[in-house]
Symmetry: C2
């Protein structure tokens, strides 16, 4: 979750995700589109890859970057759930929540 949100917290990376949704692009083609070095774009792609948002697939000497639509969906669902937690539906889920995300052992201090 941390990784996912961090990956999305960068304009260039969000733009790469958007670009690679409609037709994959090679890393060098991507790099040409941004005012930074090839290596820098390579790193951004690596961050997205680690977060599971894109995949790379070799094709000849090019490496095609493709956004994983399922990952995008999963990302959205995760965010939805986060927001659901935050809005009214905290009710009895607090307990569940405690086990998943906020598993601080000193939860008793809450109120």
């Amino acid at each position: 979750m941390d990784q996912l949100l961090h990956a999305l917290a960068d304009t260039t990376r969000r733009d790469i995700v958007r670009r690679c949704l409609t037709g994959e692009a090679s890393v060098s083609r991507l790099a040409a589109a941004y005012p930074m070095s090839f290596a820098a774009v390579q790193k951004h792609v690596a961050v997205l890859e680690r977060a599971g948002l894109v995949t790379k697939q070799r094709s000849g000497r090019e490496q095609l970057v493709r956004t994983d639509r399922d990952a995008v969906r999963r990302a959205r669902e995760a965010l939805d759930q986060l927001e659901a937690t935050w809005r009214g539906r905290v009710d009895r889920m607090s307990e569940l929540l405690t086990e998943t995300e906020g598993n601080r052992e000193d939860e008793r201090d809450e109120r």
Copy 2:
């Protein structure tokens, strides 16, 4: 947007947001709930505050932290729109998108 996502890309901070949705808590009370120093929690709150997710309100000698539910809603909407952009609805919005988020002057290189 960068700021918002970055603020959310940390377990402790998300937990603070969650905690401060149901009844505000003083910074020191929050600090007591995490295995880190008071100052560290203070910094996390500052990050959330800069991102507009929480507000602080002095009450006596305590500073009460309260999650801004509107901000949370706006955050969600922003994420929804991001996802909407990513999913099918890119159609004719590409142009609009270009002006807002992906305003790279070399957009012509895209295809």
